[in-house]
């Protein structure tokens, strides 16, 4: 796969379809890849990688790249194409400046899950069929891919690309019964007190590093209101832990109807906070109240929270406090 992608990128660079390539490059331990721009054949030959650890969603980088001009080739996994479409719909990126190669995906690995199995001192990882052979300074270990699948991939909603100019690998399908709302349903079934405890518990670990916000393809404000000293709500430090927790709820509201459930927020959180559950609750509610809608499926679709219809649900109609 990697070689096919590299070869194609070199061709498209040579024939002028693009002047740079957005992909991933290797780090020190086989799992620590960094998103990178490649401008020459040599750079691609030396640095381009794609494997089970190429997890980062590259679509948000296109906001910056589109401003720089030129023509960009980007590799997108199925989930990334939803973010891409959403960014097109919100006029944050220009479709015509970007050449999209969809790459088939059978799930990405989470190195934390490897480590949870007691694997430490990793020096190299090789893919062999449906396993990873991990070399460590404490000896070699083999793990099944499915046992170290990233959280978001366990409940992957779609292996189908929503947009591409060409595809490498086989086209996949939307996975209707992916079970991504199972945990949301469990939370809904809790008593308000239990639910409150759950969220206060997980959010109490937050160090407010902002990784979740900064990685989020739906968070593309030029300056976040929480960073703006003139906004009056700048939040370098919260007055109390409840205010801290509120940040996440406000952010979830802000991306409601726009979050594609790409899973980046939970992937990057250094404290393993299941942020995707907040967003999935909103997605589920939008589905229930406004009809099934998947952000990023169709950039021309009218966003449910961005339009008004006379028979829209009224505050309090679904329960809770009446306005």
């Amino acid at each position: 796969m990697q070689e096919m992608m590299k070869k194609r990128a070199i061709e498209l660079l040579a024939n002028g379809t693009c002047d740079r390539v957005l992909g991933w490059t290797n780090g020190d331990f086989a799992y620590d890849q960094t998103p990178a721009l490649f401008r020459t054949e040599q750079e691609l030959e030396e640095g381009f990688v794609y494997n089970g650890f190429s997890a980062a969603n590259l679509s948000k980088y296109l906001v910056k790249e589109c401003r720089a001009g030129g023509k960009i080739l980007v590799f997108l996994k199925p989930c990334d194409t939803y973010s891409f479409n959403q960014l097109v719909a919100e006029h944050r990126i220009k479709r015509e400046m970007i050449y999209v190669i969809g790459v088939a995906c059978d799930g990405k690995a989470d190195v934390e899950k490897l480590k949870e199995q007691g694997i430490d001192g990793i020096t190299a990882i090789k893919e062999e069929g449906d396993t990873y052979v991990v070399s460590t300074i404490y000896g070699d270990k083999t793990v099944k891919k499915e046992d170290v699948l990233a959280e978001r991939c366990v409940n992957c909603k779609s292996r189908k690309h929503m947009v591409y100019d060409e595809l490498i690998g086989e086209a996949g399908d939307v996975i209707a019964d992916c079970g991504r709302f199972d945990m949301v349903e469990k939370l809904e079934a809790m008593t308000p007190d239990e639910r409150y405890e759950f969220w206060r518990g997980v959010l109490s670990r937050c160090i407010r590093c902002n990784a979740c916000r900064n990685v989020c393809p739906a968070c593309t404000c030029e300056q976040c209101i929480f960073d703006n000293p003139k906004s009056g709500v700048a939040q370098k430090a919260a007055a109390n832990s409840f205010e801290e927790n509120m940040f996440h709820i406000i952010r979830a509201f802000h991306v409601a109807g726009r979050c594609t459930d790409c899973g980046e927020c939970s992937r990057v959180c250094p404290e393993n906070i299941p942020l995707h559950l907040l967003n999935r609750k909103f997605i589920k509610d939008v589905n229930t109240f406004y009809g099934t809608y998947q952000a990023g499926e169709d950039p021309a679709a009218k966003p449910p929270l961005g339009r008004y219809e006379k028979n829209d649900i009224e505050p309090g109609e679904a329960g809770g406090v009446k306005a």
């Binding site: 780090g27 020190d28 331990f29 620590d32 890849q33 960094t34 998103p35 990178a36 721009l37 980062a56 980088y61 949870e116 430490d120 001192g121 990793i122 020096t123 460590t136 300074i137 404490y138 518990g201 997980v202 670990r205 160090i207 407010r208 590093c209 902002n210 990784a211 916000r213 900064n214 990685v215 300056q223 960073d227 703006n228 000293p229 700048a234 370098k236 430090a237 919260a238 007055a239 980046e264 992937r267 990057v268 250094p270 404290e271 393993n272 906070i273």
Partner: protein, 341 residues
């Protein structure tokens, strides 16, 4: 040297906790280690290190410095400083213990930071030598010995026991206070544990990282290197690296309007942020390239410049495992340093 049988570990914790607040790494619900106040029933984590560093004990993420109360035209200034309570941190690794020295060099020099100082004075640090270092560890590069950590007391885990060595008066007092639980230590067992750890450290992939080309006097050479642009290209400016880093020491001071007065607070800041050191004219570092460069130049050049060549990184590896895009100080050192290609 003293010895504590592993079977008596919880008794030992209870004895310490009887007179002082005791903190130690425990696994939280997500399976990651974090420092927590010890209570009966709490199990010490087996993890190599905590997600957040131990600097939180001395340099907390937020704290109130003072308050102002308004009463008509009168402004009352309230000094909120209080003596810290006595506390013990158990299980600090060599890297984090070394980071305290770095923080000291900032907060305990003139003008001494009295908020920091009282916590340093009241804290007793018990370090624990590493038994199973990770691939992200590179303490050795900065001359830190994971097999012989600093601290008021140093502990080693050996077969069925912990060996404890007091290094300071504070440490001795601590061991004396729980003397009834301790036996005479076994130097040979410690030496064996140390040899084992050091042998592993030698084999770590990053132990051979070179600092050549970095450090004192390298500002002019490194500041305008074109590689900063490519290195920082994917950086999200999130600041995760700075918040998990045991040596990152920057803060902001702001006033919070409470409605009938002001709370002046201090909180961690990050050079990766757009409003870092914001001044009337704007930000002094307008692009992410400049902000990114600041973080690494600070650790690898500016800090050594002002501290006899000591680097501002202790090689704990947190920024390696926590950066969302896996960009980190090692990649910077490999690119900017002389001998790592």
């Amino acid at each position: 040297m003293k010895k504590l049988s592993s079977a008596k570990l919880n008794e030992f914790f209870a004895a310490i906790a009887a007179s002082k607040a005791l903190y130690l790494p425990v696994d939280n619900k997500s399976g990651k280690a974090e420092y927590k106040k010890w209570e009966a029933g709490e199990e010490m984590s087996k993890a190599l290190n905590t997600v957040r560093s131990a600097k939180d004990f001395f340099f907390p993420q937020t704290e109130n410095l003072m308050e102002f109360k308004m009463d008509g035209k009168r402004v009352e200034v309230i000094d909120t400083r209080a003596e810290a309570e006595d506390f013990v941190i158990f299980g600090v690794r060599a890297c984090d213990a070394a980071s305290f020295k770095i923080l000291d060099s900032v907060y305990l020099v003139d003008p001494v930071d009295s908020y920091y100082k009282t916590r340093r004075e009241h804290g007793v640090v018990v370090t624990l030598a590493c038994g199973k270092p990770a691939e992200t560890c590179f303490c050795k590069v900065f001359g830190i010995d994971a097999a012989d950590p600093a601290g008021d007391v140093t502990a080693w885990e050996t077969d069925g026991a912990y060996m404890l060595r007091a290094n300071t008066e504070k440490g001795e007092a601590l061991l004396d206070s729980v003397g009834a639980l301790l036996e005479e230590g076994d130097e040979a067992a410690v030496a064996a544990a140390q040899a084992k750890t050091r042998e592993i450290i030698e084999r770590l992939p990053l132990s051979s990282l070179s600092t050549e080309g970095l450090g004192v006097g390298k500002t002019a050479e490194l500041f305008d290197r074109p590689e900063w642009k490519t290195l920082s290209e994917a950086c999200l400016g999130c600041g995760t690296c700075t918040f998990v880093c045991p040596t990152c020491q920057c803060y902001d001071v702001r006033d919070f309007d409470t409605g009938n007065g002001i709370k002046r607070f201090r909180c961690w800041d990050s050079c990766m942020y757009s409003d870092f050191t914001l001044m009337a004219h704007g930000n002094s570092r307008n692009s992410q390239v400049e902000r990114f460069r600041q973080r690494f130049m600070h650790k690898l050049v500016y800090y050594p410049d002002r501290n006899n060549g000591t680097f501002g990184c202790v090689g704990c590896g947190r920024c390696l495992s926590r950066c969302p895009i896996s960009m980190n100080i090692v990649k910077v050192m490999k690119t900017m340093g002389g001998k790592n290609k």
